[in-house]
């Protein structure tokens, strides 16, 4: 009996020992991929990037409100520069670092193993690098000093912030290196590139246009660097028509619809009308884009609400049907913008060819035609003394600033960067502003919670983590 007991008592141990197979082998998620092709990451990051810059979601992209293209009807927080209630800086920060850059970066690490042709590898890497530079450009011009050299490394969970100007120089170097690697005779991402479908000549123009824009952004802060950058970009070949524009073609059906359609039409909400700031300018200038940008108001004419004030939706003009349609393309860089940059370059004495007026006229014409106007519209418009480059009032910054602001309608982020740099047009204070017009974003609130020491150092380095702290490129 004793023996039996011993046998029985040792049973549990035997049972457990006999179960000692590889228990941990079952801990692999059968429903998720552990490895994916690099092109799938590139496509996703490209799409998310365009979505982020195109979005009008009040929880993410409120640049249209800051530069007073639109204002909110009832819930006017963001129109009055309240960035906290909806954690706007956090939304942009996370989208760019986590949803865009990390996927581009991961694609780069996978290219060498899943693309066999070394020339195709080089193209893929260069295209990815150009998109990364584009993304970094937005981050550094929005926040100032940001994590860069230590960023995108999960083994360093608390990256230090780098000096914005230093980052910027590195970005320009990376851009040059990437342009040099683009090879039109080799294959590449192809259709996985949802902007140009893998057309390398277009990519070269796109990269040089970006370089032109980046060079001009620092024209007030570092004229030497700006000049060399702008001149070499212009010489290498930038956009020459609207056909070159960097656009992502949204589709008419979900899920790849234009996010503006989702926010304004699909939601059925009535949150935005245009501002009197914008309408009054367009009206004063008899701008043919008025009817292309906006709907008619309750009195079958055009009017806008006071920014930041309570505005009756029915009373005022709203964003035009065209830009709120589901398949309206997302534009991340275009010909009109390039011509404005060239006009400015001429004014600054950079050697890019042509006259300021020609570039200005080309820019305005490109914008009018992009929005559906005709050559005749453009000619008539430019003939007006208030628009004509030689007779319009103000300095070149004022003239270009005004027209660029109009042309960048619906591209709030870019308009905001240009407005800070050119300082025109003057934007009146909204109804109940929390601050002056923001000239940068505060850091993501998570950085205070998680990356506190580095955050504190960065905030002190730029002169305080405030929306009114001017960034290095914004001299005036």
């Amino acid at each position: 009996m004793k023996k039996l007991s011993i046998i029985i008592l040792s049973l549990p141990l035997l049972l457990t020992v006999s179960c000692r197979r590889n228990l941990t082998d079952i801990n692999v998620d059968p429903k998720k991929a552990g490895i994916v092709p690099s092109n799938s990451l590139f496509t996703n990051a490209e799409r998310v990037l365009v979505n982020t810059t195109t979005s009008s979601n009040v929880n993410l992209n409120i640049y249209r409100l800051i530069v007073q293209y639109w204002t909110e009807t009832t819930y006017t927080d963001e129109s009055n520069y309240d960035l906290n209630t909806r954690s706007i800086p956090r939304g942009i920060w996370n989208a760019m670092y986590r949803d865009v850059l990390e996927d581009f970066e991961r694609a780069k690490t996978l290219i060498p193993t899943d693309v066999l042709d070394p020339k195709a590898q080089a193209n893929d890497l260069a295209m990815t690098e150009i998109m990364e530079v584009y993304t970094w450009y937005y981050l550094v011009t929005t926040y100032g000093n940001i994590p860069y050299s230590q960023a995108l490394d999960i083994n360093n969970p608390f990256p230090a912030y780098d000096d914005a100007a230093t980052i910027y120089n590195d970005l320009l170097a990376r851009l040059d290196a990437a342009i040099g690697k683009l090879d039109a005779n080799a294959s590449n991402w192809g259709s996985a590139d949802v902007i140009y479908g893998g057309d390398i000549p277009s990519w070269k123009k796109f990269a040089n246009s970006l370089k032109l824009k980046m060079g001009m952004t620092i024209a007030d802060a570092n004229v030497t660097k700006a000049k060399s950058t702008v001149e070499s970009a212009a010489a290498a070949g930038v956009f020459t028509s609207n056909a070159d524009n960097a656009v992502y073609d949204y589709t008419a059906n979900p899920p790849n619809t234009n996010p503006v359609w989702v926010d304004l039409v699909q939601s059925g909400r009535k949150d935005f009308v245009t501002t009197n700031t914008f309408v009054n300018q367009l009206t004063t200038l008899n701008d043919p884009r008025l009817s292309l940008f906006l709907t008619q108001d309750a009195n079958s004419t055009y009017s806008g609400g006071k920014p930041g004030a309570s505005n009756n939706y029915a009373t005022f003009s709203k964003p035009a049907v065209k830009l709120t349609s589901p398949d309206f393309p997302g534009d991340i860089l275009d010909y009109s913008e390039v011509e404005f940059l060239l006009a400015e370059a001429v004014e600054r004495g950079f050697n890019v060819g042509g006259t300021a007026q020609t570039h200005y006229n080309n820019a305005v014409t490109a914008s009018i035609k992009y929005w559906g106007g005709s050559d005749a519209d453009a000619v008539a418009y430019l003939a007006q003394p208030s628009v004509n480059y030689t007779t319009a009032t103000g300095t070149y910054k004022q003239k270009i600033g005004m027209q660029k602001w109009i042309a960048l309608y619906n591209r709030g982020w870019d308009a905001w960067i240009e407005w800070r740099r050119l300082d025109y047009p003057a934007l009146p204070a909204p109804d109940a502003p929390l601050t002056a017009t923001p000239v940068r974003y505060t850091y993501s609130v998570d950085e205070q919670n998680v990356n506190f020491d580095n955050y504190t150092a960065a905030a002190s380095a730029i002169g305080g983590d405030k929306v009114t702290t001017k960034l290095w490129f914004d001299k005036f």
Partner: protein
């Protein structure tokens, strides 16, 4: 296994007969439940001779003729009885106090409370089932110290069951439920959106499937020492449920109850009656409060309500003002094309609530003989909620049978089936399907709910008050509430099978072996709908979920007297647990093609790939325990368990947890002290470990729907980690139990301190890394606290008794470390810009948001007369943890009448009310209108003497005197106020339960064959909120169970219920 001591009790006498001279009488000492009482002392009266009963209560004694004996045992009242002529005796002892309560402890092992060296509180099943609530978890509130119950007011909503505070920073903190030794899954399927107040349904937690009528008793094992044998799952405390066991002979119990419920107006909005719909003075007519359109075609512009505006900062009510309202544009309405006087609604949203109705019927049959016993039960409950078109039905069948194959070998089988169907569960959070969001936050006070009801039933269409515009009759933000209830409803069904087969082999009198295989399996289907014509894009969504847990147990137990004074109990066991959790979630895309066809194939755009989850896990455990009891005075207890888990990395996946406890009944040293009936101190220490969440050791990508044939993928925002280690909790506990004056008064107090460290959590990292978080072992959380149970019987006579029972709990919780330099771990963000956080050196779950800027402790008002607000929304503004919670129960018994009532209290703890954040801004409640300090209507323009002065000081510290406008919306609400203004104290005192029971006297029942007992009960629940500080809502209301507490949005009112129940025993 040896039967041990007893439960609460009544005295039953044995029959006495004529006796012969000096004969041997054998007998058994039992408690009221019929369980043997070991080691009782049997003495012959008038003679010091006596014997002791053995461990099974059996004794033999030589008796003279006509002798009387006295029988005594620790914790029982000494009983004297005259021995008749029979040679066998059955002696029942009445328990004195609760000490001899047989408490079911870990792995179903029964022990007397006397020998327990750790805190464990037992509740009689009757105390749970008699309240007749459809979710028995609600009836635990206030009844156990150390146990915090948070219940939602939604029909069938989940219940938060937390023992001794939140331990895990990000994962499950709910107590483990164990039914008859088998873990009972209590997860819920509430989505992240649901628990963060962004909408969705609270489908309740799975433990609500347990049939309250089948519960014999419930034990709450609070500390790690008590639950260490359950391994990591016992980390959060264990609620052990013992179901009713069959007895010999036939017994039938029928319970039938009906409950009606009404919403409690104290917990709902009061509407101001002065102003109607609109956001302020900026519309079209000359007054600025109305739209100005020619509606009747007479060429003159008419006043029209701004129908798109879901606020009540509109025109002042004036019966002489004729205004076209929403119904003027509904061709089916009697007011079509007509203007109506501008007055407040006759039927405000309080008329939306219906009378809740619940029926609850159960029958239990038990029977058996020497060869075996069986139990068969069936319960049906039907619940209709306070919202239209809502109901939940449950069918529960319970079967259990034991067959004694031989004297030593018995087989037991058990199977429980639950079928639950729900329809029209309440939408939650900030969402169009939660009418409370509408009624509390965004409402026009001129809208008559009954007219909305008529409009829906007239047309069957979404005729809402909230048209986009009189010229654009599409709903803009809010659907007609009745359309929403009847068309945008969910439905769900769950089928659950819970059962086991068990063999029990009593090898030797002191050695028992048990082998068992048990299965907990359920599948559920949840279907959600959004009808064509709603504000939101129409959809159909289905979620299929299957859960399976299989346990293989082997347990050997030893119970032996080593010497006369020392009893040894040992156990050795193994447990293999396999879990398989699978689900698939699919939804239509871009809308529905054909209205009212809720099928995936009815999708306008091609479907996105459904979300599939397939989780497989296994934990293999082996454990041992030993208990030595010396003279019923000193108890030494030790356990150890070793687990190997599949979810940790190879090499790190084995962990051990030891526990050690000591109990000392010091009153045995002073048996002469008459004032002290009982005294025990106890202390213990335990370590438990936990494994990792599924699949947190290897990285994966997220698949994204392809574009034009191009695949898309994204790096998952959480970095997994292949070098995780088990997380650990170390806990210590000391306790003191004392009883006085013949057990009329007693208390049980426990102090505990538990630290959970090396927590496996996805720690927040700078998003500049490209990730939100990385799985690491990091973070320490401490919970320490005091639990006190106080019980007394102030009055006790033959016919009347008054007993009271207080449970008081105070838990202090603190985040001691996070990952490296992290100051804060954000748990979730919520609408309104607030977040719940684990912040360094703060209690768990702190509420962060924007705050006032204080000057000399007073809110600072800026030059514009409005409050200055902090630069970030990252200030700690609230703490959701209560200072203490308590339950006080009083029971009065007079003859066959029993009256008891339970006061349930919570002191402290804060919540953020999104309802008031928005509702005060939109001018729904009376404080947003009325007169200002000048005696003028505050909503007048400042020029007309209106406006208000906010309490506070200006930047120079002087009292604020700047008047701000209250003409447009926002002044009292979120628009010009920091989040901190909407933090409220969540304290309450509630009259939770009132029970009046009448048991028909036995002399009457005996004439009413076949009845053995008839009880009538009248039960009230949540009848009266005696005290609270949160206006217009129930401070206890929460969106879901889980770690995210302290946030209200679209809170449901509490429901006062009254039940009439009849219980029949045959």
């Amino acid at each position: 296994m040896r039967k041990m001591l007893s439960l609460l009790a009544v005295l039953v006498l044995c029959t006495a007969m004529a006796v012969a001279q000096n004969r041997t009488v054998s007998g058994q000492v039992k408690d009221a439940k019929g369980d043997p009482i070991p080691f009782a002392t049997i003495k012959i009266k008038g003679n010091n001779a006596g014997v002791a009963a053995d461990a099974n209560g059996n004794f033999k004694i030589e008796l003279p003729a006509n002798a009387s004996i006295t029988v005594s045992a620790v914790g029982f009242e000494t009983t004297e009885l005259k021995v008749g002529s029979s040679n066998s005796l059955s002696v029942s002892l009445q328990s004195s106090g609760a000490l001899n309560e047989v408490v079911v402890t870990a792995l179903g092992i029964k022990r007397t409370r006397n020998s327990l060296p750790f805190a464990a509180q037992q509740i009689n099943g009757e105390d749970i089932s008699k309240t007749r609530t459809s979710n028995f978890l609600n009836s635990l509130s206030g009844k156990v110290s150390g146990l915090e119950i948070r219940q939602t007011n939604t029909m069938g909503g989940s219940v938060n069951v937390v023992v001794r505070g939140t331990k895990s920073l990000l994962y499950n903190n709910q107590a483990l439920f164990v039914v008859d030794g088998i873990p009972y899954n209590n997860s819920n399927t509430n989505t992240t959106d649901q628990v963060t107040g962004r909408g969705g349904y609270d489908y309740g937690n799975a433990a609500s499937d347990i049939n309250p009528d089948d519960i014999e008793s419930m034990t709450v094992l609070k500390g790690a020492a008590a639950s260490a044998l359950y391994g990591s799952r016992g980390n959060n405390g264990v609620i052990l449920i013992t179901t009713k066991k069959a007895k010999k002979g036939l017994g039938i119990t029928i319970n039938s109850g009906i409950t009606v419920g009404k919403y409690d107006p104290k917990t709902f909005v009061k509407y101001q009656k002065e102003y109607g719909g609109g956001y302020g003075q900026y519309y079209e007519d000359p007054t600025g409060f109305f739209l100005y359109r020619d509606i009747n075609g007479d060429g003159v512009k008419d006043l029209v309500t701004p129908t798109s505006e879901d606020a009540s900062y509109g025109g002042k009510f004036d019966p002489n003002l004729m205004v076209y309202q929403w119904d003027a544009f509904d061709p089916s309405s009697p007011y079509y094309g007509k203007a109506r006087p501008w007055v407040g609604a006759s039927n405000d949203p309080t008329k939306f609530f219906e009378t809740a109705l619940n029926t609850n019927n159960s029958v239990f049959i038990t029977g058996g003989s020497d060869k075996g016993t069986y139990k068969l039960g069936y319960t049906r409950t039907d619940d209709k909620g306070i919202l239209p078109n809502s109901r939940i039905s449950k069918n529960m069948a319970n079967f259990q049978a034991t067959y004694n194959i031989t004297d030593k070998l018995s087989a037991t089988g058990m199977l429980n089936y639950n079928g639950i169907t729900g329809k029209g569960r309440f939408g939650t959070g900030y969402n169009d399907k939660n009418m409370m969001t509408n009624f509390r936050q965004w409402w026009e006070t001129n809208v008559d709910v009954k007219e909305q009801k008529d409009a829906y039933f007239r047309t069957g269409k979404n005729v809402t008050w909230n048209w986009a515009d009189p010229s654009d009759l599409t709903p803009i933000y809010w659907d007609n509430v009745y359309f929403s209830r009847y068309e945008n409803y969910e439905s769900d069904a769950r089928n659950r099978y819970f059962g086991n087969v068990m063999l029990n082999y009593k090898v030797l009198p002191w050695l028992n072996l048990m082998g068992r295989v048990s299965v907990d399996n359920y599948d559920e289907l949840q279907e959600e709908r959004q009808a064509v014509g709603s504000v939101a894009t129409s959809f159909y969504k289905r979620f299929n979920h299957t859960f399976n847990e299989t346990n293989f147990d082997f347990l050997a137990t030893v119970d032996k007297e080593i010497t006369k004074d020392i009893n040894f109990k040992g156990l050795l066991g193994t447990n293999i647990r396999k879990i398989h959790n699978q689900s698939i979630l699919a939804s239509t895309n871009g809308g529905l093609i054909v209205p009212k066809v809720y099928a995936l194939s009815n999708s306008l755009s091609p479907l996105d790939a459904p979300t599939e989850v397939n989780q497989i896990g296994e934990v293999d455990g082996v454990f041992a325990g030993a208990t030595f009891v010396w003279r019923d005075m000193v108890t030494l207890d030790g356990t150890i368990r070793r687990d190997a888990s599949s979810t940790l990395p190879k090499g790190n996946n084995v962990y051990y947890y030891p526990s050690g406890s000591i109990g000392f009944v010091f009153s045995q040293l002073v048996p002469t002290a008459t004032w002290l009936s009982y005294g025990k101190i106890r202390a213990n220490y335990a370590q438990v470990g936990s494994d990792a969440p599924f699949y947190s050791t290897t990285d994966v990508y997220d698949a994204v729907t392809p574009i034009n044939g191009n695949p898309q993928a994204s790096v998952n925002g959480t970095k997994n980690n292949s070098s995780l280690r088990p997380e650990r909790t170390k806990s210590t506990e000391v306790g003191l139990e004392m009883q006085f004056i013949k057990n009329r008064l007693g208390f049980d107090v426990t102090y505990y301190d538990a630290k959970t460290f090396d927590q496996i959590i996805p720690v927040a990292v700078s998003t500049a890394t490209g990730f939100n978080s990385k799985f690491l072992n990091a973070g320490t959380m401490q919970n320490k606290g005091v639990e006190l149970s106080l019980y007394g019987t102030p009055v006790k006579t033959k016919d009347f008794s008054w007993t009271l029972n207080l449970n008081w709990t105070r838990n202090r919780n603190k985040v001691l470390t996070l990952f490296q330099g992290s100051q804060n771990l954000q748990l979730a963000t919520f609408q309104g810009g607030i977040s719940l956080n684990a912040s360094l050196n703060q209690p768990f779950g702190t509420i962060r948001g924007s705050n006032f800027v204080y000057t000399n402790g007073q809110p600072t008002v800026g030059a514009n007369g409005r409050y200055k607000i902090t630069n970030t929304a990252n200030e700690v503004i609230g703490n959701p943890n209560p200072d203490w919670i308590a339950g006080l129960n009083n029971t009065l018994k007079y003859k066959n009448w029993t009256l008891s009532w339970l006061l349930d209290m919570r002191q402290g703890g804060q919540l953020f009310s999104l309802d008031l954040y928005y509702g005060l801004a939109t001018g729904i409640t009376p404080e947003t209108s009325g007169l200002n300090d000048l005696g003028n209507p505050s909503r007048n323009t400042i020029a007309n003497g209106g406006g208000i002065i906010l309490p506070g000081v200006t930047e120079d510290g002087k009292a604020n005197t700047i008047r701000v406008s209250n003409t447009n919306f926002g002044q009292y609400g979120y628009r010009y106020s920091p989040n901190a203004r909407f933090i409220y104290d969540a304290s309450f005192i509630k009259l939770r339960e009132v029970l009046l029971t009448y048991s028909v006297p036995s002399n009457i029942v005996s004439k009413l064959a076949p009845f053995k007992g008839i009880d009538f009960s009248l039960i009230g629940r949540n009848l009266w909120i005696i005290h609270k500080n949160l206006p217009y809502a129930d401070p206890e209301e929460t969106i879901s169970s889980g770690n995210l507490q302290g946030y209200q949005s679209g809170a449901y009112p509490s429901v006062r219920t009254v039940t009439f129940n009849v219980k029949l025993n045959f």
